[in-house]
C-alpha cells in the first residue's frame, strides 16, 4: 500500500476534486453479484423463502431499516465521517412511539412528523458538535449514542408498549397489490438517483476527498457537515419508526444492532471508509446481501449461528476484494 504514494500530480483545476474520483470498476458490481449469488443459491435450495406468499414483503420489511441507515451512513462516509449515534436515535424514536399507543387520529401523524423532526435535530446536534469542535465523528457520535440510549431508557425502561394504530396502518399493508415495504425500498433508490447528482452529495464527496481543497472551491464545510448528520439523524428516525411498527412494540436498545450492521452494509456495497467514493444504492444492495445470509443458512437448514460467522466472513471478503482492486488499479496507473 506504500506504493500508493506515487499517485498522480494534484489536479490543477478546481473541479479536479470531483473528476479525480475513481471510475466505476469491477468493485462497483460486486454487491450486485453477492445478491445474485445468494438469491440463486436460496432459490435453488429452498425457493419458498423468496417466491413464497408474502415472502418478499417480509424480506423487504426486514431490510428497509438497515437499508435507510446504510444510505445515510454512506453519505457520512463520503465526508470521512461516521455516525454511531444512529443506534441511539433509533432507540429513542422506537421508545417514544411505543409509549404513545393510545394516540389517535391526526395526532398520530403529527407524532410521526415529530419523530422525523427529532431525528433531524439529534443529527444536527452531532453535526454542530463535530463541525465546531473538530473532534473525531467516531468519538462524538459514540458519546451521543450513549446519551440518546440513556434517554430511550428513561422513556421506556423495559421492552414493550404499543404503537399508535394510524402509524401501523400507514406503514403496513400494500398499495394496489404491491407491498408498501417494496415501494419504500424503491423510493430509497429513486431518492438516491436524484440525490447523487445534487450539489449536496458532490460537496460531501469533495469534503471527504480533500476537505481543504473543497473549502477553497467554496464548499461551506460547517453547513454541509451539519446537513449531512441531520440527514443521517432523519434517516435513523424513519428506521426507528419502521422498527417500532414492525415489532408492534419498542425496546430501549432497539437501535444498537444497526450501528455495526450499517457500516458492514456500506462496506459490502464497496464504499471506502476513507471518504469520497461509493454509492448509496450499492450500500443498500449491500444491506440486502447482508440480510440474505440468514435466509441462506435457514435454507441449508444448519445452525442459525453460522449466519453470524458468514456475515463477518462476507464483510472480510468484500473489503479484501475492494482493497485488492484498488491496489491493482494503482499499480496500473503508477
Amino acid at each position: 500500500m506504500i506504493s500508493q504514494t506515487t499517485e498522480g500530480a494534484p489536479p490543477s483545476s478546481p473541479t479536479g476534486v470531483v473528476s479525480r474520483l475513481p471510475r466505476p470498476s469491477l468493485a462497483t458490481l460486486m454487491p450486485y453479484l453477492y445478491v445474485a449469488v445468494l438469491a440463486v443459491a436460496i432459490l435453488f435450495i429452498e425457493p419458498a423463502l423468496i417466491d413464497g406468499p408474502g415472502a418478499v414483503d417480509v424480506r423487504f420489511s426486514a431490510v428497509f431499516p438497515l437499508a435507510i441507515v446504510a444510505f445515510a451512513q454512506t453519505l457520512n462516509l463520503f465526508t470521512r465521517g461516521i455516525d454511531l449515534s444512529i443506534g441511539g436515535t433509533i432507540s429513542v424514536t422506537t421508545a417514544i412511539l411505543a409509549v404513545s399507543g393510545s394516540v389517535k387520529g391526526p395526532d398520530a401523524y403529527l407524532e410521526l412528523v415529530g419523530m422525523l423532526g427529532l431525528g433531524i435535530v439529534i443529527g444536527a446536534i452531532n453535526g454542530v458538535v463535530i463541525a465546531y469542535s473538530g473532534l473525531q465523528p467516531f468519538l462524538v457520535t459514540l458519546a451521543t449514542w450513549t446519551i440518546w440510549d440513556g434517554i430511550a431508557l428513561a422513556v421506556l425502561p423495559i421492552e414493550g408498549g404499543s404503537v399508535p394504530a394510524p402509524a401501523t396502518n400507514l406503514i403496513l399493508g400494500s398499495v394496489a397489490g404491491v407491498p408498501k415495504s417494496v415501494l419504500c425500498m424503491v423510493a430509497l433508490f429513486v431518492v438516491w438517483s436524484w440525490l447523487r447528482h445534487t450539489r449536496f452529495v458532490r460537496d460531501l464527496r469533495a469534503m471527504g476527498s480533500d476537505a481543504e481543497r473543497a473549502r477553497l472551491v467554496g464548499v461551506r464545510l460547517f453547513t454541509r457537515t451539519v446537513q449531512c448528520y441531520a440527514f443521517s439523524g432523519g434517516c435513523a428516525a424513519i428506521a426507528g419508526v419502521w422498527i417500532a411498527v414492525q415489532e408492534a412494540s419498542g425496546s430501549p436498545t432497539a437501535g444498537d444492532e444497526y450501528i455495526l450492521t450499517s457500516i458492514a452494509a456500506v462496506v459490502i456495497g464497496g464504499a471506502s471508509i476513507f471518504g469520497g467514493t461509493g454509492s448509496a444504492a450499492a450500500s443498500m444492495i449491500g444491506a440486502i446481501a447482508y440480510l440474505m445470509i440468514p435466509d441462506l443458512i435457514a435454507a441449508i437448514n444448519i445452525s442459525s449461528f453460522w449466519s453470524v460467522f458468514l456475515q463477518g466472513f462476507l464483510l472480510i471478503i468484500a473489503v479484501t476484494f475492494s482493497a485488492l482492486v484498488i491496489r491493482m488499479r494503482d499499480r496500473r496507473t503508477a
Partner: protein, 334 residues
C-alpha cells in the same frame, strides 16, 4: 522544534487525564468517605485492570492509526474455549493456555496481515473478524456454555500477593512492558514513525508492514489474557462477557490523550483513561439511581473527557471533518 512542541502537548493531555482521575476520586471521597478506603480503591483498580490490559494492544493499534474491534469475541473466545477444554480440572492448564495464546496470535496475525499487507481498513477488518469469531464460538458452543473454570484457577486469580490482587499485578506487568516498549525500544520508535508518516518511515528504512503486524497480535494476546482473568474473576465464562469491551479500550486510549489519528500518545495516558472510565462507572450510580440517568451522564462525561483530552487531535480548524478512523492506506495515499 516541532517535535519539542509535540512532546509538550503530549504531556499536557496526559496531565489533563491524570487531573481528571484526581478530580473524580476527590468527588467520590467527598460524596462518601468510604470511597478512599483501600478496599474500595483495590476493587476499582481490579476493574480498571481489564480495561488497562486490553488498552495496551489498543494503544499500539491506535498509534498506527488503526483500531481493534475484534477484542470482544477474542476475549470471550479465550475464556469460553479454555473453560470448555479444561472442563473444571487444572490438569491441562498449561497446554490449554498455550493453545489459547497460539490461537490469539493467529487471530492477531490475520487482522494484521489484512491491514498491513492487503490494505483493508483496520476498523472493517477487525469488525469482520469479530463477527467471524462470534459465529464460530456460537456454533462451537451451540449458543450456550455450561462448564465452569477449575476452582484452582479461580483461587489463583482472585488471590492477593502482599495485599495486591493478582489481576492488578498482571496489569502492572503489562503496564511496565507497555511503557518500556513504547519509550525505550527501537520497535517503539518505529511504531511512532509509522503512525506519524508511514511513507517517511518506509524511506527511513522501517519495514512498515512488519511493524503494523505487531499491534494486532499484542491486542489479541491482551484480550485473551483479559478473558482468562475475567473468567477467573467472575468464576465463569459466558458468551456476552466480551460485549462491554467493544469500544472501552479505544475510549480509554482516546480519553488518555492519544490521538486517534495515530502517531502521538502513550500508554501512560491509557492508564489514566482506564482509571477514568472505571471511576466514572463507579461514581455515576452514587449520584443517579436510575440506569437511564447513569447512561446519559456517562455519554456527557465521555464527550467532555474526549474534548478535554483530544483537542490536540483536531483537524486544521473548525468545520473540517477529518478521517474518522484513518488507516495507513489513506495516510500513504495523501
Amino acid at each position: 522544534m516541532s517535535a519539542l512542541i509535540d512532546r509538550g502537548r503530549r504531556y499536557r493531555s496526559t496531565l489533563i487525564a491524570y487531573g481528571l482521575v484526581l478530580v473524580l476520586f476527590i468527588i467520590g471521597t467527598v460524596h462518601s468517605p468510604d470511597f478512599a478506603q483501600w478496599v474500595n480503591i483495590r476493587t476499582l483498580l481490579v476493574y480498571g485492570s481489564f480495561i488497562g490490559i486490553i488498552g495496551f494492544g489498543q494503544t499500539l493499534c491506535i498509534l498506527t492509526g488503526g483500531i481493534d474491534l475484534s477484542v470482544p469475541w477474542t476475549l470471550t473466545g479465550a475464556a469460553v474455549l479454555s473453560s470448555v477444554l479444561l472442563n473444571g480440572s487444572d490438569a491441562n492448564f498449561v497446554p490449554v493456555c498455550l493453545l489459547v495464546a497460539g490461537l490469539a496470535i493467529v487471530v492477531g496475525l490475520v487482522n494484521g496481515i489484512g491491514v498491513a499487507y492487503v490494505g483493508v481498513p483496520p476498523i472493517i477488518m477487525t469488525l469482520g473478524m469479530n463477527g467471524a469469531l462470534q459465529g464460530l464460538l456460537l456454533v462451537y458452543t451451540d449458543g450456550g456454555i455450561s462448564s465452569s473454570p477449575p476452582q484452582g484457577f479461580v483461587n489463583v486469580v482472585t488471590d492477593q500477593v502482599l495485599g495486591v490482587p493478582v489481576i492488578l499485578l498482571c496489569w502492572i506487568v503489562v503496564a511496565v512492558i507497555a511503557i518500556v516498549v513504547l519509550s525505550a525500544t527501537a520497535f517503539g520508535r518505529r511504531l511512532y514513525a509509522v503512525g506519524t508518516n508511514a511513507s517517511a518511515a518506509k524511506l527511513a528504512g522501517v519495514r512498515v508492514q512488519r511493524v503494523l503486524l505487531v499491534p494486532y497480535i499484542v491486542s489479541a494476546l491482551g484480550a485473551s489474557l483479559a478473558g482468562l482473568l475475567l473468567m477467573g474473576f467472575t468464576g465463569q465464562a459466558f458468551l456476552t462477557m466480551g460485549d462491554p469491551y467493544l469500544f472501552t479500550g479505544a475510549v480509554a486510549v482516546a480519553v488518555g490523550g492519544t490521538s486517534i489519528l495515530g502517531g502521538s500518545g502513550h500508554y501512560v495516558g491509557t492508564i489514566a483513561g482506564a482509571l477514568i472510565l472505571t471511576l466514572v462507572s463507579a461514581l455515576l450510580p452514587l449520584f443517579w439511581t436510575s440506569a437511564a440517568g447513569v447512561e446519559i451522564a456517562d455519554g456527557l462525561i465521555l464527550l467532555g473527557a474526549v474534548y478535554a483530552a483530544g483537542r490536540r487531535a483536531r483537524g486544521a480548524g473548525p468545520g473540517r471533518p477529518r478521517l474518522s478512523l484513518p488507516g495507513l492506506v489513506a495516510r500513504a495515499k495523501r
